[in-house]
Symmetry: C2
C-alpha cells in the first residue's frame, strides 16, 4: 500500500492497461475525491460509476465538493482491498489491493437526456437490474441533482498480488506466513419496515448476496 | 454518501463523538490521504492504525506522499461501507456508511523506541496477535521506514444508517425497497507456497476469518 510494495511484484502488469483500469473501476462502488481549495486538501467519499471512458459523480447542487470540483483539478482514487499479506518480518507485511487514480477537472452535465442516462448508469452500477423497477425520475429530482463527468484516459492502476516477499534468510524461520484473502460480501436483503405493500425481494436484490 | 444524505437521518448522533470516531478508525484498515502539492491534490490509499488520540502512517523514506505530508496540511479519510440503500426512486438510493475525516500536518517520529512501538501498533491493527510471532525488527528496517503521527482531536465522523427515506407518496408504490447489508469478510488463510518449514496456520490468522 506504500511506495515500497507498489508494482514491485508485478512490474510487467501495465499500470495504464485499459482493461485492468475498467475492471477495477467496475468492481468498486465508492471513490475518494481529493479537492484542494484555498484551505488545503479535502478527501470525500462518494459513489461513482464508469461509462466507457468517463466516470460519473453526482450529488446535491448545494454540495461544496461538487461546486469546487467543477472548477479545479481533482484526484479520484478507487481502492479495492484483496488480502492481508502476513510476512515473517513486520517490515514485509503488506496488503494485496487494486487501486486506480484519476486526475482531471470534472465537467457538469447539463443536457437533461444525458443527465438522466448517466443517473441510470449510476443506479445500474450500484444495483444491476434495479432501474426498470423504479418510478421515473421527476423533473425536480433531475434539477435537484448535479451530475459531473470526468475522463479516465489518463488513469493509472496500482496493484499488489501474491504472497509475502521476505528476506531470503527468513524463509527458513519457524514463522507461518501467507495471505488472508478479503472481500466485500453482501448479506440477505432487509425489507424496509415502512413498506405499505407486501412485496417479495426482487431477483436484483438477491443477486447482490450471491455475487 | 453525498451532502444530501449525510447525517440527515441521525442529526442526534454527534459527529465529534470520540467513541464513534475511535470505533470507525479501529474498524478500518486503509485510509485515503489527500495531499495538495504544487501540481494539485493527490489521494493515496495507505494502511494506518490508531493509537489513542493519534493515527500512525508509515512507508518508505523515498515516498513522495510521506515527504510531502510532513510539511503540509493533509486530509485523511477512512470510509466503511455498510450497505446499499434501495429506495423506490433512483433519487433516494443511497449507501449506509461510516466515515471519519481528519485534517492536520503529520509529524515524523524519530525516536527509535517510539518508532518501534508505533510499527508494532500498525501490525497489531492489521493482524491482532501477530507481533509476538515475528522476528525482531532490524536497525536497517527501522531506518528504512518513515513513521508519521497525526492528532485526531479535530476528527469528524459522518454516518448514514437505516432504510431508505422515500417521498411520502412513494411508500404505497408496488416497488420493493430495503437495505442490502455489506461487509468485509476474510477467507481461509493461504500458506505461502515458498515456505521452507511446514507450520500450522496460527490462531491469529484463523481469527481474521472468524471476525
Amino acid at each position: 500500500m506504500t511506495d515500497r510494495t507498489t508494482l514491485k511484484r508485478l512490474p510487467e502488469r501495465g499500470s495504464h492497461d485499459r482493461e485492468t483500469i475498467h475492471e477495477i473501476l467496475d468492481a468498486g462502488l465508492v471513490c475518494h475525491v481529493g479537492i484542494a481549495d484555498d484551505d488545503g486538501p479535502v478527501v470525500i467519499p462518494t459513489l461513482y460509476a464508469r461509462d466507457g471512458e468517463i466516470i460519473v459523480l453526482h450529488g446535491s447542487p448545494a454540495s461544496r465538493m461538487l461546486r469546487t470540483a467543477r472548477t479545479r483539478e481533482v484526484c479520484v482514487t478507487v481502492t479495492l482491498t484483496d488480502g492481508l499479506v502476513l510476512a515473517r518480518s513486520a517490515f514485509h507485511h503488506s496488503m494485496n489491493y487494486r487501486s486506480v487514480r484519476i486526475f482531471g477537472t470534472p465537467e457538469e452535465v447539463t443536457d437533461d437526456a444525458e443527465k438522466t442516462r448517466l443517473l441510470d448508469v449510476l443506479v445500474e452500477h450500484l444495483v444491476p437490474g434495479r432501474n426498470p423497477a423504479l418510478r421515473p425520475m421527476t423533473r425536480n429530482e433531475r434539477k435537484g441533482t448535479t451530475v459531473l463527468r470526468m475522463g479516465i484516459e489518463t488513469a493509472t492502476a496500482k496493484i499488489r498480488t501474491g504472497g509475502p516477499v521476505d528476506d531470503e534468510e527468513d524463509y527458513a524461520l519457524p514463522i507461518w506466513a501467507g495471505v488472508v484473502p478479503m472481500s466485500i460480501t453482501y448479506g440477505a436483503p432487509e425489507t424496509d419496515p415502512k413498506s405499505k405493500v407486501d412485496l417479495p425481494v426482487p431477483d436484483h436484490a438477491h443477486a447482490l448476496s450471491r455475487r
